[in-house]
Symmetry: C2
Subunit: 165 residues, 2 copies
């Protein structure tokens, strides 16, 4: 007994994407309250050489979709990385959610032993379970949390409950 590969991927990502969706609603309400253009928040960063809020959404959704694609040896849908508005980001989340929902528990069975090549890391090869534990999950949460951090840094009232769900 332990935790299945399905449980450690699809529902984990679904929950994180739900938090990212909540942040969009809170960003929209905050922009309205402060009478600012929401695209300012979409383009906000913690540092000039760090990805903006939209980039955190792009990397979080990529992390989710590529994890499933690599584990199952299938192709993930392509997204253009051209989101500029809150609604663009909502659409990206929806497309990622639809892709995640296409995986069954059965589709992930046996993926713990599949050999996964990490791109851009000297082509390091990891077993599926190690890939999820050492790369996929920490990377996914990094981008969800950084989106949270950017909004907080801009003054928007998001809180830990929005993150944990």
């Amino acid at each position: 007994m332990s935790i299945s590969m399905y449980r450690l991927t699809v529902p984990m990502f679904q929950r994180g994407l739900a938090s990212l969706k909540t942040y969009l609603d809170k960003a929209e309400a905050y922009a309205k309250e402060k009478n600012i253009d929401p695209v300012i928040l979409v383009a906000a960063r913690l540092a000039p050489d760090m990805l903006p809020f939209s980039g955190q959404y792009q990397r979080a959704t990529d992390s989710a979709k590529f994890t499933l694609a690599r584990l199952t040896g299938t192709d993930a849908p392509k997204f253009e990385d051209n989101e500029k508005t809150l609604d663009d980001l909502r659409e990206r989340l929806a497309k990622t959610e639809a892709y995640l929902a296409s995986f069954s528990t059965q589709a992930l069975e046996g993926t713990e032993t599949r050999q996964i090549t990490l791109p851009g890391r000297n082509n390091t090869v990891l077993s599926g379970d190690e890939y999820v534990a050492t790369f996929a999950l920490p990377n996914f949460y990094f981008h969800v949390t950084t989106a949270h951090a950017i909004l907080r840094n801009q003054g928007a009232p998001v809180g830990k409950r929005d993150y944990l769900g």
Copy 2:
């Protein structure tokens, strides 16, 4: 076949604590380079009503130690939450690492079905595996990433590789 409760806790936390240790070294070097007192970085925040850098270390280490204590039904060591310097934070990491190292794979066996009560959440009760997946891991990575975000926001040159290890 799937991922064990041990694999999803002790090594995950050890890896995150190693990143937190790297951040302290990078913060120290950055403070020296900029000729600023490192305690300024220890007290830095992303927002006035958010925990400072030191608070992220306190919550990350608490998350690690309480996860193990709750899963195994034992008591975690008490820490005072009075860290003011980089060395204070190093000491806290070392104490947490020593505690984590005291758990064997065997000590976690069967903990997936243990009933865990989440404090401060209307005493919600979760099985050990759901507790790790929905609460412990996301919460731990939240605080490691927020520590990263605070340093980046202060201009310190930490990067994704420092986080992923």
